[in-house]
Each structure stands twice: as structure tokens, then as C-alpha cells.
């Protein structure tokens, strides 16, 4: 088992930062997800942890041992890639056994460990099949089994579900999480898919432009995003963000409507704006509640069924469309005028200049 510490770890290519100096502690048994769009530095970070990529600054500790300059093979870490990288001429069983054979493990031990791990992944029935004959999901199971069989101190996974189709991805997502819960091996998992990150991670490291934007639990990145990037990136659709001018406890929106901010926010918004200034109001689609007596007027831009619920897309002004989640029974023709209110506990505010979230507590 392993604790992984990154201390001021950075990666530069010439003058360009692929990863700006970052600190991160991954606790023993934790499942940490590195999440961000392509080019944000998440894969480079993972490769630095594995030793496949050299750092250009900082230190990496594995169980308090400095491994910054150790080779990948000396780090006791297993890597699972997006592409399965299986040996096509070997059966699944031989593929899984391979790392143990390479280490010169005894035959009986190998047999036992392969059986154990294939039971865990429910793949006993495919052990004698070659990878070419297996479905994408089963191939990825073999790749996982091969990583697991070594019982490494930590797992690093680089978009392992990226090459699977949607159905399999959902199933494998649950299986990998279940596996982690049973095994409790420290895992660092890279993905660009925020749903995967939310569903799987104990904590999520959101990255953008080579910088760590937030390190938090799924609940925190969803409800209390640190900045506008995280607010937009997490959620499907992302957080609704509406520009307005704040004065005297109300936010004045572009089309002349005003939103009275919840009392508990007034002191911190006064402090943030000096009593009068621009703000961005943020709220999740499920925080908007449509009702005849509500505060904020809008027009139905589109309404669509998502199966178990309906999403309303409301136009506040020609440049602003917000999304409101409602029941599937609701029918709203396009261009119907509606009004909505916000669940006060789900309202957030951001500074348009810094893009950072404003804290509801006034700092002394």
C-alpha cells in the first residue's frame, strides 16, 4: 500500500509549462482522479508519478521515500493504459501471468494469483481465449488483471475506459470502483470525462492550462466549485452562470430583472464589491424552480426529455440561456414566458475579474 506525495512537481518543455508546480498528497488506499480537458497536464502528471516522464522540478515521494529519479520498474507501481497493450499471440491467462513470470515467480503461485484475480474480475470463462477474440470490455479486464496480479503498491490508470463504447464504459466504471473498494489499492486515475470522475473518485483534482484548479470531493467540486472553470466543467450541463450588477442586496440582470440575494450572502457580497459592482451568479439546473409567482422572468428557448426528467432551456436575454431541471410531466412550448426562483442554499457567486468563487463568510 502506498502514500504518494507530489512536492512542487513541475514539467517544462522549453519555456512552456506542461504542468506548473503542484503539491498533492494521495493517501494510502485513496482513489484520486486527475480531471481536465485535453492538454491540461493531467496525463503528464500521471507519467511523472510513474517515472515514464522526468520532472523538471520538485520531488515525488512514495511512502516517504524519494523516488523522483528512480526508474519506473523500481517504483512498485502498475500502469493501465487506454489502449490495452496485450500480447495477441498469448491467451488471456498467459497475458495475465506474464508480469509474474518475468519476475521469476513460482508456477504454483502464478496459477493461484491468476485465478484469484480472474475471479475478482469475473473473467474465468475467457482465460483461454486470445485477446483478438475478446470484446473491448473483456480486453480491458485482461489489462486490469495483468496490472492487479502483481499486487503493486499503487495503480496509475490513463483513461482506461476511453476506448470502450458507452454501454461498456458504464459497466466497467462500476467494476473498477468496486474493485478498488475490495482491494483498497492507492489509485490515480486520469480522465477527461467529468461523469467518470464524479462517479469514481474519492477526491478529484481538476486541472486546466497546466494548473490545478481545485482538489476536493465530488460533492465539493459540484456544489462549491473554486472558480468559473470548475463550475462550467463539472455537471452536464455545467453550472448556470449569469452576469449582473450587485447593489443593496440585489443582483440586477441584463434585461432589467432583479434577483434578491439570500440574506446570508449580503455581508460577503458587500465586502467583495464594496457595495456596488459586477458579479456572476452561479446555480445548478436543479436549483432553478419554475413557478408563476417567481422572481426572475424568462422565455422558454427549448425543452427536452431526458428520460426520467425534462430539461428546460430558458432565455434570460439574447445572450444568456440557463438550464432548469424539471419533472418529465411538464410541457412548455417554445417561447412561453415563465418565471423561476432559486433554491437559496444552492446559490453561489463569483468575481468576474478573478473568476474565483466568493466565500459566503466575510473574512475579517
Amino acid at each position: 500500500m502506498a502514500t504518494i506525495e507530489l512536492i512542487k512537481v513541475e514539467k517544462k518543455f522549453g519555456d512552456l509549462h506542461a504542468v506548473k508546480p503542484m503539491d498533492l498528497t494521495i493517501h494510502d488506499g485513496e482513489f484520486v482522479v486527475l480531471l481536465g480537458p485535453s492538454g491540461c497536464g493531467k496525463t503528464t502528471t500521471l507519467r511523472m508519478i510513474s517515472g515514464l516522464e522526468a520532472v523538471t522540478g520538485g520531488q515525488i515521494l512514495l511512502n516517504q521515500r524519494d523516488v523522483t529519479w528512480e526508474k519506473p520498474s523500481e517504483r512498485d507501481i502498475a500502469f493501465v493504459f487506454q489502449f490495452f497493450a496485450l500480447y495477441s499471440h498469448m491467451t488471456a491467462r498467459q497475458n495475465i501471468a506474464f508480469p509474474l513470470q518475468a519476475e521469476g515467480e513460482k508456477r504454483e503461485v502464478i496459477r493461484q494469483r491468476v485465478e484469484e484475480v480472474s475471479r475478482l474480475l469475473r473473467m474465468e470463462h475467457v482465460l483461454d481465449v486470445r485477446p483478438g477474440q475478446l470484446s473491448g470490455g473483456d480486453q480491458q479486464r485482461v489489462a486490469l488483471a495483468r496490472a492487479l496480479v502483481r499486487r503493486p503498491a499503487a495503480f496509475l490508470m490513463d483513461e482506461p475506459l476511453g476506448a470502450l463504447d458507452a454501454d461498456f464504459r458504464e459497466t466497467m466504471r462500476a467494476e473498477i470502483k468496486r474493485l478498488h473498494i475490495d482491494q483498497h489499492a492507492t489509485t490515480v486515475y486520469v480522465t477527461h470525462d467529468q461523469i467518470e470522475a464524479m462517479a469514481m473518485g474519492d477526491r478529484i483534482v481538476v486541472m486546466s492550462d497546466a494548473v490545478v484548479q481545485q482538489v476536493s470531493t465530488p460533492a465539493q467540486v459540484y456544489h462549491d466549485p473554486a472558480n468559473l472553470f470548475v463550475a462550467r466543467f463539472i455537471g452536464s450541463p455545467g453550472m448556470n452562470l449569469v452576469q449582473g450588477r450587485y447593489a443593496q442586496g440585489a443582483l440586477h440582470l441584463a434585461d432589467g430583472a432583479a434577483y434578491t440575494v439570500p440574506d446570508e450572502w449580503v455581508p460577503s457580497l458587500n465586502a467583495a464589491t464594496g457595495g456596488d459592482g459586477d458579479l456572476i451568479l452561479g446555480f445548478r439546473p436543479e436549483a432553478a424552480v419554475v413557478g408563476p409567482e417567481s422572481q426572475i422572468p424568462a422565455r422558454v428557448y427549448a425543452a427536452d426529455l431526458h428520460g426520467g426528467y425534462t430539461m428546460l432551456h430558458l432565455e434570460l436575454d439574447p445572450d444568456t440561456i440557463i438550464h432548469a431541471r424539471t419533472t418529465r410531466e411538464a410541457q412548455y412550448p417554445i417561447n412561453t414566458p415563465v418565471r423561476f426562483d432559486l433554491n437559496p442554499s444552492m446559490v453561489r457567486f463569483f468575481d468576474p475579474a478573478t473568476e474565483a468563487a466568493i466565500s459566503p463568510e466575510v473574512r475579517a
Partner: protein, 353 residues
């Protein structure tokens, strides 16, 4: 715009039957979606309507007139592809104007100016009109492609996965705009996709295609609430529908090796053994619920949490709002919404109506 009808269309490529007796009817002003996996025959259907492919049997009718012998250019359709096919060295304006300037139409300059300006406003690309398309982002390019299709008023728009190459956020934004635009303009549209969310959210009606055959045609509510087969039931809905083999026993409905035992709703005629489908939102946690299980896994998605409930040898998925405190291994009581059960025979066809 027009009604478009396909009557008993069959199309073979050598030994492979790509389309097998496909019939449907797209009404004037309708947003009609063809949904299916890769290779189901969706694109072939579009190409047959466009005249790019000639069917081996059956008729294509526009406003009740057979167009089987019409060349593509004479069918007056507009096509939007997954890959943007824009002229990179032309400006956005010239790309949009291109269909109007074609030798077939030769619209006057003043009309072109008006139409292009209108379309650019609708698609929010007015600020891009003087740019070369090679310099645009993927989302901007696809807006221009859509603009080039809607700058004319053809008889039907044919759209082949136009949003598939865009990233998730962009796809969602453009989907909503396309939906709005189609409703406001009342344009007849056939939209092809493999993405069930696109189909559910955009369509007036959906035709589900599997291996060259139409499996079901209906509104998004029909398809989601009354799937005709287990294939359709599993194709739409995230997370996927729970599908369990069940038996009939003394007026109850029973899933072997599980705790699921329910009264058979009155008037439901069921075979001895059948498949029971339950949407995850219809598996409701309730402290006084009659069914028992154990939490096997939780997946918080923010707005809701997927709970995997272990019931005997089976696992049922349930969706609950928000983020829960439930822990793995917690005992749990639940209930199943009785009037939303789906039942299929062992061949996968819906039964018990």
C-alpha cells in the same frame, strides 16, 4: 417544406441487406430522428432519400410524388454531414452564399445578402462572416455547415450525426440551438444519430433502426415509456434499464435468486417466465419499502447518485436525487413503481399490455 415517405425500402450491397423493408413517414415540419448503432443502416437511409444511393425495392415519395428516378440535385434536399465540408479558402459569408449562387438557383445579390445575414444571426455567427473557414474552431465550423444548409428552403434537411465530432459541452449547446431553430422555422428534418440523448431530447418522433430493420417508431415518451423490445429498452436511458428474468407464481411476479417479489398488476397477461424491465428512477429507496437489499456501490454524479442495490444474486440500479450518505454494505429498503414496469417475452418482445 415537404412530407417525405419511405415505402418498403430494401437496399442490398452484394450479399448484405443494409435496409430491410424500411417504411416511415416524416410529416411536414417534423423533427424526425433515426436512432441506432453503427452499421444499423441510418446513413444508407439518408443516402437513399438524397438519391445518392438507389434502393433495390420500394419507393421514396416527396409530398406523395415518387422521386425514385430523380437525380440528387433535382430532389431539393440539404445535407449536413458529420465532417464539415466547407471551402477553407472562402469566407464564412461566401460559404453560406454558395448554395444560393449555384447555377441551379442564381439568386440575385440583394437576396443573397438578406438570406445570409438572417441565417448568420440565427446561428450567432455574424461576427465571423468575413473570416476564412480554415481559421474557425470545430463548433464554429459546424455552425457554418448548418447555416449553409438552412440558407435555402429545401424540401427536407438531412443531418448525418452533425454534432458527433464536437466536445460534450459544445455538442450540448449546439443541440439546444438546433432544436430551437427547427421548431421556430418549422423545417422538416431527418436527423441521424447513435446518441440516445440526442434522439430523446430533439425528436418529435424517433425511428429505432437495428440491423437494417425498423424496430419501433414513436415519440420520445413512447420510446422511453413503452419500448417495443428489450433492444429499444436498453438503447435509451442512462443508466441502463434493469433487466431481470422473472417468473409468475401464484399471482405474484418473482425474480429468482433475489428479494424482488411484486403483485402482478391487474389485467397484465404474462407468460410463465419473462423478462422484467425496471428503469433506475423507478427503483425508489423507501424506509418502509417492501423489498430488501444491500448497497453494493454508490456513484455520485452531482445532481443525482446511482445506487447499486444487491438483492440476492442480482444487482439493481437506482437513481436518487443529490448526494447520499449511504455507505457500501448498508442494508436498504426499496420499492418499485408498479405502473412503470416493463415486461418482455424471452425473445425480447414487449408483452403483458
Amino acid at each position: 417544406m415537404s412530407n417525405v415517405t419511405l415505402r418498403h425500402i430494401t437496399k442490398r450491397f452484394k450479399d448484405v441487406t443494409a435496409l430491410d423493408d424500411v417504411s416511415f413517414d416524416i410529416k411536414d415540419g417534423e423533427f424526425f430522428v433515426l436512432l441506432g448503432h453503427t452499421g444499423a443502416g441510418k446513413t444508407t437511409t439518408l443516402r437513399v432519400i438524397a438519391g445518392l444511393e438507389r434502393q433495390d425495392a420500394g419507393d421514396v415519395l416527396f409530398d406523395d410524388e415518387a422521386v425514385n428516378t430523380f437525380a440528387p440535385a433535382d430532389r431539393d434536399i440539404a445535407f449536413v454531414f458529420q465532417q464539415y465540408s466547407l471551402y477553407p479558402n472562402m469566407t464564412v459569408f461566401d460559404n453560406l452564399a454558395f448554395p444560393l449562387r449555384s447555377p441551379l438557383r442564381k439568386a440575385p445579390a440583394a437576396e443573397i445578402q438578406t438570406r445570409v445575414t438572417e441565417v448568420a444571426e440565427k446561428l450567432r455567427i455574424t461576427h465571423l462572416l468575413d473570416r476564412k473557414t480554415a481559421k474557425l474552431s470545430g463548433g464554429e465550423m459546424q455552425r457554418v455547415s448548418i447555416g449553409r444548409a438552412i440558407v435555402r428552403q429545401p424540401r427536407i434537411y438531412l443531418m448525418d450525426e452533425p454534432l458527433s465530432n464536437l466536445d460534450a459541452k459544445l455538442r450540448e449547446a449546439l443541440r439546444i440551438e438546433l432544436q430551437h431553430l427547427q421548431k421556430v422555422e418549422g423545417s422538416t428534418t431527418l436527423f441521424v444519430t447513435h446518441d440516445q440523448i440526442e434522439a430523446l431530447t430533439m425528436a418529435d418522433r424517433i425511428a429505432v433502426l437495428n440491423a437494417g430493420r425498423i424496430v419501433q417508431i414513436g415519440t420520445p415518451y413512447d420510446i422511453y415509456d413503452r419500448p417495443a423490445t428489450t433492444f429499444v429498452a436498453q438503447l435509451v436511458g442512462i443508466p441502463r434499464i434493469n433487466l431481470l428474468e422473472a417468473t409468475r407464481e401464484n399471482g405474484t411476479l418473482y425474480v429468482p435468486d433475489s428479494t424482488v417479489r411484486l403483485a402482478i398488476p391487474p389485467g397484465k397477461a404474462l407468460p410463465e417466465t419473462f423478462l422484467l424491465g425496471i428503469r433506475p428512477e423507478d427503483v425508489r429507496l423507501a424506509s418502509d419499502g417492501p423489498l430488501q437489499g444491500e448497497v453494493a456501490l454508490t456513484e455520485p454524479l452531482g445532481v443525482e447518485t446511482v445506487i447499486h442495490i444487491r438483492s440476492g444474486k442480482h444487482t439493481l440500479l437506482s437513481i436518487v436525487p443529490g448526494i447520499t450518505d449511504l455507505k457500501i454494505g448498508d442494508p436498504i429498503a426499496f420499492d418499485i413503481t408498479q405502473d412503470r414496469l416493463h415486461t418482455f417475452d424471452l425473445n425480447g418482445d414487449r408483452v403483458g399490455e
